[in-house]
């Protein structure tokens, strides 16, 4: 609020900073331990590393197969998010613009997916994907992610479209554009802010998903980063210097993206989830 900086504000600031330091303690441990040789990890568990021991990172990189895993995660995330944005925005255009009972009913059917735990669909879906010979493929992951995230995307897009004016669409239609052209050249560009939110939320969800790739990709050699980390930690039990280096590589891409785009990411969470 627009008040002056008083001694109360100062006390609050000190308290918040103290809490933030305590809050960052696990991250501090993660970083210092990842740069220590094995002996120093146990010898001085909380101290700063004497010198930067980088062998942990190269060791973890090859032992956990993080190179291929990063590539797999990137392919799956990019395809899922692109398809989600395309299908979700197009579907939302219908749901937001048609005023019929059917339209309202379909919107509710999609919203149901937000609370429906995916565990209920787990076994039949596994059977379905197996019978289509899609186990272990990128396609299985992409259709799964798009299907389960459509409710969120449609919820966000419909909410946004209902508050935007139809004037431009009507103008485009009068000028002779068909609906698909109107959508592609007028409506979709207008939805850019909410598309940003959909991309941010779904990228984080897809990239970090562990359960689905564990199930659908196991043994395929197409494992994603969380699954690679899972098998790596299982193999190198208690070699914390290596594990921590692997964890850092595992979170680095998304953390770097977050720091570069932090304003949009925080905005996306705040406005998107607020509904």
């Amino acid at each position: 609020m627009s008040r002056r900086y008083t001694w109360r504000t100062f006390v609050l600031e000190v308290a918040l900073i103290a809490f933030a330091l305590l809050f960052m303690f696990p991250l501090y441990v993660l970083v210092v331990q990842a740069f220590k040789p094995p002996a120093a990890v146990a010898a001085s568990p909380l101290g700063l590393p004497k010198q930067l021991y980088l062998a942990n990172f190269s060791g973890a990189w090859s032992a956990a197969g993080l190179g291929p895993a990063l590539l797999n995660s990137t392919i799956i995330t990019t395809c899922s998010v692109a398809l989600l944005v395309g299908l979700g925005s197009l579907a939302a255009f219908v749901l937001a613009r048609r005023q019929s009972k059917l339209s309202a009913g379909l919107f509710l059917l999609f919203l149901l997916g937000i609370i429906l735990p995916f565990q209920l669909a787990l076994i039949p879906l596994y059977q379905l994907i197996k019978s289509l010979h899609l186990l272990g493929t990128y396609a299985a992951m992409v259709v799964f992610h798009v299907g389960t995230l459509l409710p969120l995307a449609i919820f966000l897009y419909v909410g946004f479209l209902r508050t935007t004016t139809r004037t431009y669409e009507e103008a485009a239609l009068i000028d002779g554009a068909n609906h698909l052209q109107t959508f592609a050249y007028v409506v979709f560009p207008l939805m850019r802010p909410i598309t940003g939110t959909v991309i941010i939320l779904s990228t984080i969800i897809v990239w970090n998903d562990f359960f689905t790739p564990l199930l659908y990709l196991s043994g395929s050699g197409r494992q994603t980063v969380p699954v690679a980390i899972y098998s790596f930690v299982g193999q190198y039990v208690s070699q914390w210097n290596l594990i921590f280096a692997g964890l850092i590589i595992g979170v680095a891409p998304i953390l770097i993206a977050f720091f570069l785009l932090q304003r949009s990411v925080i905005q996306g969470f705040a406005s998107g989830l607020k509904g």
């Binding site: 331990q33 219908v94 209920l120 039949p124 406005s271």
Partner: protein, 310 residues
Amino acid sequence: MVDANVRHARAKRIFKRGAGRRAEVPWTFIAPALLLYLFIVIYPSLAGAIYAFTDWTALSQNVTFTGLANLKQLLSDAQARSALKNSLVIALFIPILQNGFGLLLALGLNTNVKSRYVLRTIFFAPAVLSPLIVSYLWQYIYNPFPDQGLNGLLGAVGLGVLRQDWLGNPSLSLGSIIATVVWQNMGVSMVIFLAGLQSIPKEFYEAAELDGAGASGRFRHITLPLLAPAITVNLVLTLIASLKLFDQVFAMTSGGPGYATETLSTVLFKQTFLFGRFGYGAMIALVLTVIVAIFAFIQLKVLRSREVSM
């Protein structure tokens, strides 16, 4: 001027009537999304709900309906009962703690403290990380050695008496997992509350101050009521997520020690994929679904009725 407006309105009416059908967005646009959604979510969920009443296993040749046998078993099985209880405990404490911390941080950062932007970034950052990776980090933080992780920190600040085997002690392990989830996600609640706080007009506070309302009065009569929509969203989101909790438990304790941290999701996973008991696993999933639906419905009803419009 008036004349032009009238004419414009008339033209608009005529356009609407004349354009009629042509102006409607075609249903075909929704077809790809709808088909995929029916195929990936609705059909398998319905099938799962039906399998919940069968004796289907990985080995069975034919599947027969067994009525409520799976449900009876769930209610008499020590592992599943422990999971049910733990899931409910988690669904009670995570929403309260995560949103409590989130609200306090939002109130603290919605002031003119100089470091507010940096602090907002710090508190939010864990939310973008993989829950599995965060859990492995915390598994180390919680390790029982007296000089490492949390125990080491407690020793360093002279609170050595509080050292514990955080995950190995069955009466602490569930709380330790809850703390990890709260740590990772309090930033999400914080930014939703911050957005809510920033949408409250400053004039409301100025007017209340002129009328002699104190800080606590302003909080009770302005902040809380106007924050109600943010509270609803936060509580519903955290409740749904905490009932489904899986990754953190799987990584830190796999449900142990004993059944101390088993959740509906972990038992479901074990019964289905380790023991091949598909029908029973489906019943656990169905119970989870019903609980989520009931809780989400009650919360929305109760909380929406408390919301006020500006």
